[in-house]
């Protein structure tokens, strides 16, 4: 089954382009992009099990910790697209990654769970506890998600870093788009998907 957010990412990726997926997991998205967009793909992943899965899929996988810096690994502009899917909120230095990824590639695609989603707001604002739900399943003391943000937080960081937002899509928990989402994305978007580039 193809997740709708992959469908959106796939639409943004030019066929036959060079794609780097940072935190590529088991490589499912890269496999999807190779199949649909005939891209040449490289994935970075730290987890042993996921690295092995990616290699078993026949993908090019580099085992590395994203937090230790990616600019050492890749030459400037060696890719057309860098994807950071559901990973940035788990980074120690998300702002460094955003800056680095746009030195490696022309365009970046970033997806993350939206902390401003209404259910998260209800759990924190009304019920007074850290959100636990499908998008954020872990308790506060044992979660990889250490740098959660809302759509507007992310957009102001981009502004600060001189990053231009080319496209934005928000989807609900089933990774679908809807009218409500388009009207009040920071309330009803459970996941955000951005296409970004460095300002000229």
């Amino acid at each position: 089954m193809i997740r709708p957010d992959w469908h959106i990412v796939g639409q943004w990726i030019t066929p036959k382009s060079r794609v780097l997926d940072l935190g590529c997991g088991d490589g499912a998205l890269l496999s999807h992009l190779i199949e649909r967009r005939q891209v040449s793909a490289v994935g970075l992943e730290l987890d042993d099990d996921k690295v092995a899965s990616g290699i078993e899929r026949g993908l090019n996988i580099i085992q590395e910790d994203l937090d230790s810096g990616i600019s050492d690994w890749f030459a400037p502009m060696s890719f057309d697209f860098v994807i950071v899917s559901q990973t940035i909120q788990a980074m120690r230095h998300p702002e460094r990654l955003l800056a680095d990824m746009l030195t490696i590639a022309r365009e970046g695609i970033v997806t993350f769970p939206n902390m401003g989603y209404w259910r998260n707001r209800v759990q924190l604002g009304l019920l007074g506890h850290m959100p636990i739900n499908r998008a954020l399943p872990n308790p506060w003391y044992n979660t990889p998600n250490i740098h959660l943000c809302t759509l507007s937080d992310f957009e102001s960081l981009c502004h600060e870093l001189g990053i231009q937002i080319l496209d934005r899509a928000v989807v609900d928990s089933a990774h679908r788009e809807s009218t409500l989402l388009r009207a009040l994305p920071n309330w009803f978007g459970e996941h955000a998907i951005y296409r970004i580039q460095r300002k000229a």
């Binding site: 490289v42 042993d48 092995a52 290699i55 078993e56 026949g58 090019n60 580099i62 085992q63 590395e64």
Partner: protein, 403 residues
Amino acid sequence: MSDASEKLTQSGLSRSVGIVEPKTARFSEPLALDCGRSLPSYELVYETYGQLNAERSNAVLICHALSGDHHAAGFHAETDRKPGWWDSAIGPGKPIDTDRFFVVCLNNLGGCKGSTGPLSIDPVSGKPYGPDFPIVTVKDWVHSQYRLMQYLGLSGWAAVIGGSLGGMQVLQWSITYPDALAHAIVIAAAPRLSAQNIAFNEVARQAIITDPEFYGGRYAEHNTLPRRGLMLARMLGHITYLSDDAMRAKFGRELRSGKVQYGFDVEFQVESYLRYQGTSFVDRFDANTYLLMTKALDYFDPAQASNDDLVAALAEVKAHFLVVSFTSDWRFSPERSREIVRALLASGKQVSYAEIESNHGHDAFLMTIPYYHRVLAGYMANIDLASTPRGASSPVCSTEGAV
């Protein structure tokens, strides 16, 4: 299948290639060497495991490390205590699956296990080469391995695989014969040795050369062996192949007799282990070969010809790479493997890199570590035999009935 290998199968070694027999290939065309000399003729001893397919597209070359040889898997006799040096990874259903691949492993030139080396007779003098055997380099080995490939009637390898010094040969293959291999698997290697590594080799060489029984390498003529020197060289090497953690786990500060003796005899278990490793090595390895192998390591530097630019050196490479390193390997640390990976990426090559958590040091590359073997097996399983290079070279010898 012979009776003996059937017995091995029955005795629970069903994932073994069974009983194997070394073969010898003779080459009469001179081989020009990096050092300026040439070998007028030479022999390479090799073993094969698995069956070559009809398309001749499933051959895999295994390159051995410093003290390795052609006996990578299986047993020579039913009574053998130990299988070949990389039996953990080569065999039916193993990561380098002999049900799918035709695996070739040879003893390199300058070796002491049957291929032409210091123990062989120099046709000019009629005496063993001894110290007069020319210095051979990784590139010389690759040239000789290419000739073995032709001898076997192969026009290319599905993969060339090696660890440590073997990994260096793989890297050299991809540079020197870019059209002859589809995949390169480089394990626990480095693009060249560090000063520290060369220093260890130099101490090992000095231990051998300064042994009074060395006689300038002509110990055979004096009916002796530089036992102490070779033993010291091996002991030193062994320390660098293990990690601090591995030695602590294996020996700690355990005493053989339970209490200290205030003397210089063997007291700690680690001393006993090292002495055993050293003395048993003397019985199975030649000192002149050891010197040659360490020199081949020291000289290896494929980027040198490209102004020390590894990216440029890799420009013509066509093989897809898998690079593997081990976290506690300080002789060939993960950082050295990352240098190779970064250069491959920078020159736009296809590469995967796995860093295996292990406390076994450099020796980890020979061990059955589940994640390591999963990566190796996963990579091998994805090799498309249709992409194996094909040329028009015809067989010089028959590979029918190869074990």
